[in-house]
């Protein structure tokens, strides 16, 4: 016989209960006839508002948790990193973290904007450098596909990329290759992308419905 822990039952009941109250509070309107009127007369709407505000407040606090985690992990890596580069990288990160906080405090006192200088002089150029590196990596990725062995799928993938790039760079607006490329993007590529997104959305909906009816209970203990 399967034993179910009490804590799992309580957590599941809490999640399903809060989920259902919020769903009913958000979904059932006046146009729902008698049920709508009943819901409006009950405190469910007010309870839904409280639950949503509570969730927003808790989520806002998690940013602080994130900053503490970032600092804690990197201080730990400075002391016990597996490699020298891990210790060095974390030292730079902790140093940058403390510097930005210090600069921010000084900015606040002096009414200056040195934080923006750090952003413009350090972060933006690094982002630009990584962007240019990304282009070469993507080209290398296309080559890697063919190196792994040729299958119909891989050949189709590479040909699609090549045709699209070639038509964008070489052809004029009304050329046949440009029209073919546009058709490729708007029909088969768009259909494939829609299929992927629809699949993810469908699984998300099913998972949500199963949480509401208490079938998925992997959270908590």
């Amino acid at each position: 016989m399967n034993r179910v822990r009490l804590s799992v039952v309580l957590t599941t009941a809490l999640v399903a209960g809060v989920g259902l109250i919020t769903l009913v509070g958000l979904l059932v309107s006046e146009s729902f006839g008698t049920l709508g009127a009943l819901i409006s007369a009950s405190p469910i709407r007010a309870l839904t508002d409280v639950l949503l505000r509570l969730a927003a407040a808790v989520l806002a606090l998690t940013v602080l948790l994130g900053a503490i985690n970032l600092l804690g992990v990197n201080v730990n890596r400075v002391l016990r990193g597996r490699t020298f580069s891990a210790r060095l990288g974390s030292t730079v990160l902790v140093g940058s973290f403390l510097t930005v906080i210090l600069v921010r405090i000084i900015d606040g006192i002096n009414q200056s904007s040195n934080t923006n200088v750090i952003l413009e002089r350090v972060q933006v150029p690094i982002g630009a450098a990584l962007n240019s590196l990304l282009f070469f990596v993507l080209v290398w990725g296309a080559m890697r596909i063919l190196r792994r062995g040729l299958t119909w799928g891989r050949l189709l993938f590479v040909l699609t990329v090549l045709v699209t790039l070639a038509s964008l760079v070489l052809s004029t607006t009304d050329s046949a290759s440009r029209q073919f490329s546009e058709w490729l993007l708007s029909v088969p590529v768009s259909a494939g992308a829609s299929g992927v997104l629809l699949g993810v959305a469908l699984a998300t909906l099913v998972a949500g419905a199963r949480v509401l009816i208490g079938q998925d209970r992997q959270y908590g203990e």
């Binding site: 985690n69 597996r82 891990a86 990725g141 890697r144 993938f157 992927v196 099913v206 199963r210 959270y219």
Partner: protein
């Protein structure tokens, strides 16, 4: 845009379909098709235990409080079984999150995994890190982790985008196996080109059911299959009606 009455009707219909499908799959035992990315996970776990090097599992930038909430939970579910098996390793897995709101979910997943394993080692099991999913921050952090933490492999879930190419390139240079589960088509394309294995679309939701045959989440995969079949039939019916009307 759908009006509120249609949305209400669709929500109730969906709940009913899921309840009926749940009842149907309870009596069903069906073999599942092999998915190479999921088959690779136990191999990565074994390699991590043998080599005493950590496995990196990224939950991506999924956020709590919006439409990605369930994707965040799905990513945590997907990593649970691997984390449970890794509990006996001296090199605990490194779990990264892109949103600070999912830090506690990742920690809770590792805590449950550690507690449920009878052979868990004494190693600290809560190696959870937050790398903000903005611009290149997360991608560059993953690229550096490859060498810095001596990773045995990387399982990268998340929205995905072109920047995913950077850590995958780093992994390729170090000959480290990679698995990608991206929900955006651009991430899927990069994963297809650069990763060793890719989980396509909703396959992220299927991982728990594949990794553990006793998992109640195995039913979820079957329910998704049934609802997908219904949706396909609905689309074909709608298309046929449109064609007949025009004819």
């Amino acid at each position: 845009m759908l009006d509120s009455t249609t949305l209400q009707a669709l929500t109730i219909l969906l709940l009913l379909i899921v309840i009926v499908a749940n009842a149907v799959v309870r009596r069903t035992t069906r073999a599942q098709r092999p998915i190479s990315a999921i088959e690779a996970l136990p191999r990565l776990v074994s390699r991590s235990i043998e080599t005493n090097r950590p496995l990196h599992m990224a939950m991506g930038g999924f956020d709590l409080g919006d439409q990605e909430t369930l994707l965040a939970l799905a990513a945590a579910d997907a990593f649970y079984e691997s984390a449970r098996r890794l509990s006996l390793s001296d090199a605990p897995p490194i779990v990264t999150v892109g949103s600070s709101s999912t830090l506690q979910i990742a920690r809770d997943m590792l805590r449950r995994a550690h507690r449920s394993s009878p052979t868990a080692s004494q190693a600290r099991p809560y190696n959870v890190r937050w790398y903000p999913d903005t611009g290149f921050t997360m991608a560059s952090a993953f690229s550096v982790m490859e060498y810095d933490d001596q990773l045995v492999g990387q399982v990268l879930a998340g929205r995905g985008g072109p920047e995913l190419a950077l850590p995958l390139w780093g992994a390729e240079l170090h000959n480290t196996p990679t698995v990608v589960a991206a929900t955006r088509p651009s991430g899927q394309a990069v994963g297809y080109a650069l990763a060793d294995h890719v989980l396509i679309g909703e396959e992220l939701f299927a991982v728990p059911g594949y990794m553990d045959e006793q998992s109640p989440l195995r039913q979820r995969t079957l329910v998704v299959d049934i609802v997908r079949l219904l949706l396909v039939l609905l689309l074909i019916a709608g298309f046929s009606v449109n064609v007949l009307r025009q004819g």
